[in-house]
């Protein structure tokens, strides 16, 4: 592993497998009567979230606590950010109190890379703008492996707002590295130009994308990032791109349906699919804690290129 986890693009397939195998061991800690191990005792982890988050922030905090790290959450809404402090200044001030790791979520793509250059602390990307969300992709891969063993050769369809989705980018990088046959689908206005260069099949037909799929991953329509009319109405979007029980029937009989959350029920996914027998959406959330424990543990160790030097 490198010093920081900025994105899946920095990881090799071996790194990914190492995280997933470590996560498998970490999950057992969460099933004990005492859900805590002393591994990161004395390490300080700062969760710096510039965007709203329930799942990711809670999941990181639980993971940190299960490893006995001292955690603190900077609530940006009640911080000096409101007084106009820049990200770099905030980070340097936090850094001055010598934490060991900073978990950052920010609305600007590349925010973590900038902190990585100026901070000695390990930086973990918890989502940067429309760029990457590596721990989400890792927990998705973990969940897929639980159901399908091997990711190589699976047909995986990712459907929804491709343009604004960091979950898509991280997942596309990860799943193609592990040899999946990846299809992405969305309205033409929400397909980023050049997406083919990630090695994915692109289609605007949801039926083509989900036909015989082993895994279907739905993406949220990110209205907070939309400035303009990308489609006529939410209702029309649901009719053309929403995941319904009829569309699930096109996929393989043992398909699993995933969603990174938060869901817009009745927009990208019908409620009966989200709560139905194929849905593994809550398993994804549960697995997130184990995967984040694995990432925290592995980053707390030495850096390979430093050791080699």
């Amino acid at each position: 592993m490198k010093k920081d986890l900025l994105g899946i693009s920095d990881l090799t397939a071996d790194d990914i497998y190492r995280v997933l195998e470590t996560a498998d061991a970490m999950r057992e800690v969460g099933q004990r009567p005492i859900k805590k191990v002393p591994t990161l005792r004395g390490k300080t982890v700062v969760n710096l979230f510039y965007e709203p988050s329930t799942r990711t922030r809670t999941s990181f905090e639980i993971a940190e606590k299960r490893l006995s790290a001292d955690t603190l959450n900077v609530a940006v809404a009640a911080s000096s950010v409101l007084k106009g402090e820049t990200l770099v200044d905030t980070a340097m001030n936090i850094e001055a109190m010598s934490p060991d790791m900073i978990v950052l979520r920010h609305s600007s793509s590349g925010a973590c890379h900038m902190l990585s250059r100026i901070c000695k602390s390990r930086i973990i990307n918890a989502g940067d703008g429309m760029h990457e969300h590596p721990t989400q992709a890792l927990l998705d891969a973990f969940t897929i492996r639980e159901h399908k063993k091997d990711i190589a050769g699976l047909k995986i369809a990712i459907v929804g707002d491709l343009l604004h989705s960091r979950v898509l980018r991280s997942n596309a990088l990860l799943l193609t590295k592990l040899g999946a046959n990846l299809w992405v689908c969305g309205p033409p206005t929400l397909v980023p130009p050049g997406i083919e260069c990630l090695g994915v099949h692109v289609t605007t037909s949801i039926d083509e994308a989900v036909q015989d799929a082993d895994v279907i991953m739905m993406l949220r329509i990110q209205q907070e990032r939309m400035q303009g009319a990308f489609f006529p109405s939410l209702r029309e979007y649901f009719n053309v791109f929403g995941m319904t029980t009829d569309r699930v029937k096109l996929a393989k009989p043992d398909v699993i349906i995933m969603h990174p959350g938060p869901m817009n029920r009745g927009v990208e996914i019908a409620s009966d699919v989200a709560d139905g027998p194929y849905s593994v959406i809550l398993e994804q959330v549960a697995n997130g804690v184990a995967v984040r424990m694995a990432v925290l543990y592995l980053l707390a160790g030495g850096v390979e290129d430093e050791a080699a030097a």
């Binding site: 195998e21 470590t22 057992e28 005492i34 002393p38 591994t39 707390a300 160790g301 030495g302």
Partner: protein, 176 residues
């Protein structure tokens, strides 16, 4: 003399330990074996097999990974983190007499970590320590209850235990 314990003598040592365990502990129902990963696990299984042959009692057996409890993790500032593997203890250890099994007893730090880990799973009635080889050089006040073989070593030497289940042969070597 690099080979200090061959397959035959290893088997006899483990059989003797199984007898000693039965001699020392009356209530066989409350015994449970926990092997420390990696090589303590097959050793624990072999002792369970011996105990089954002798007493016709199946002794519950688990596997413990102590990586998350190591005391040298934060000093590993160079080099990547050691691999964490699964702990699998499929029974309650409350009120049990736990036989903790490892291949080599050296500084005692692994056993310290294992004791901490076990206590997180419950409150055993007692914990006894079984090792195949005691090579001396303790750094903590820890002592084995059952020892396959005491092997005096220099701290520069390297004791390697090979087991059929993992390495394809049963043998203990002392390397310079």
């Amino acid at each position: 003399m690099p080979v200090v314990l061959d397959a035959d003598r290893m088997a006899r040592s483990l059989a003797r330990i199984a007898h000693e365990i039965l001699e020392r502990n009356r209530g066989i129902e409350e015994l449970a074996l926990v092997g420390i990963r990696t090589r303590g696990v097959p050793l624990a299984r072999r002792i369970a097999k011996s105990l089954l042959d002798i007493s016709h009692h199946e002794i519950p057996t688990g596997a413990l990974d102590i990586t998350l409890y190591r005391d040298d993790l934060s000093s590993h500032t160079l080099g990547p983190q050691p691999l964490v593997r699964k702990t699998e203890i499929p029974f309650s250890i409350d009120g049990k007499l736990i036989l903790l099994v490892d291949d080599v007893l050296y500084t005692g730090r692994t056993i310290r970590a294992a004791l901490d880990a076990l206590i997180d799973f419950g409150r055993p009635k007692a914990i006894q320590l079984v090792v195949l080889v005691d090579r001396g050089h303790r750094e903590l006040p820890i002592k084995a209850d059952y020892v396959g073989k005491n092997i005096p070593t220099a701290s520069t030497q390297n004791v390697q235990v090979h087991l059929m289940e993992i390495d394809g042969r049963d043998e203990v070597e002392v390397l310079p």
